[in-house]
Point group: C2
Chain length 237, copies 2
């Protein structure tokens, strides 16, 4: 049989396959807290439990897994986050009561102000402080997925300024430092943090200032491609 | 409807889903070259092209995606590699002629001597030097997957001694350094490399020696958990 004939007669439904979905851990930084977007499940299984925004691939609408992820996030937040990265894939016989299931997990960041309007419209979506999650029962294995996403974001906070995507487009250096400190769980030396970021030329001074506690703080924004920059030595040191 | 009734009547075959497979990039270091295991495809599509070892999830045999990966690697090499890590998931409408397809890619390392016997038995499997791959047409998007796996391994070579899993259990420091140099594409200072690894206490001196060019070189092996160690500053510097 040649390939054309093979493809014409190929019936994938002859083979039993796992369920396949996507799930996103969308983080933001607000009120000095790292928060994650949760949605309340409106279908079985795990009906009424809170979990990550996600769902099944729509092979007509979606050209790639990333399309599925963005479509599902936009349904909940009305916007496309500026940072979306694949995290990991989890697949086994037990994570979903419906049977063998694979989910491709993504991690995303957005400024709180850029999607609070979108979320206020959706009664089943909420920003939840990461610190308050531990004792909550979430749908499926979403608690474990958030733990992995958080650990990855911590690593990013040590070696890059990727966390800046969870801030508004314009931010002050103290804001960025606070976010890094929340993620790393340690205080960073102000001078050293400022110098490291200046030396790497990652930020652009917008020329504008914000007054915090009476003192003016310069407002910066990320330069293009700054999210891809990796520090040779971590920011903690 | 309650959850039990929902699950009893749930028929996943009502929903059209993508194909889902796994693919592994298994590396080794041999004859001063980094090599990758390729297998010749015995089925349509892309029949007779070389590609990565992998295949579909068997929901009866495999309890998790990792089980599928190990089963497929063992089929080809007769052994389970000491290092197997999830790399990324690729899924889109065009990567497979059979239609929308998702593949979960893993990266693995093994000592050449630990699986050459296994591979010699399999006429459709071969170690191919990474440097010679560029001009070859591989099955599906496997060329692109290998590129990503290689870049990830390069990053590991900068910040860890994970590449040591591609060496025999006992190896000399010059051997490990050469492998790191091949991966990074740069010469590393011998003194600095040795000091960094000693300071991190990653290796155990076996007390045995090998004679290379007439001079004795101490044989080391990895300590447990050494693969998880990350250097704060990369090994290049």
């Amino acid at each position: 049989m040649d390939e054309a004939t093979f493809l014409k007669t190929y019936d994938k439904r002859k083979f039993d396959t796992p369920l396949i979905s996507v799930d996103s851990t969308l983080f933001t930084y607000h009120d000095h807290q790292l928060k994650v977007l949760l949605v309340k499940r409106s279908n079985h299984p795990d009906l009424d439990l809170w979990g990550l925004p996600g769902g099944f691939i729509d092979m007509q609408q979606d050209k790639s897994i990333r399309d599925t992820v963005l479509r599902k996030l936009e349904e909940k937040t009305k916007v496309i986050p500026p940072y979306v990265e694949q995290l990991q894939c989890v697949g086994d016989a037990n994570r979903d009561k419906r049977g063998w299931s694979v989910t491709v997990c993504f991690s995303a960041l957005i400024a709180h102000q850029d999607c609070e309007v979108g979320i206020a419209d959706v009664s089943d979506a909420a920003w939840v402080a990461v610190d308050t999650l531990k004792d909550q029962t979430l749908a499926f294995d979403h608690q474990a997925i958030i733990t992995v996403a958080l650990e990855r974001l911590r690593q990013k906070a040590l070696y890059s300024i990727v966390p800046a995507y969870a801030l508004p487009e314009q931010f002050t250096l103290p804001e960025l430092q606070q976010l890094h400190e929340v993620l790393i769980g340690k205080t960073i030396q102000k001078k050293s943090f400022r110098r490291r970021i200046e030396q790497a030329e990652l930020l652009e001074d917008t020329g504008e200032k914000r007054y915090e506690g009476g003192r003016p703080a310069a407002l910066y924004k990320m330069k293009e491609a700054s999210g891809e920059y990796t520090f040779v030595r971590n920011l903690e040191g």
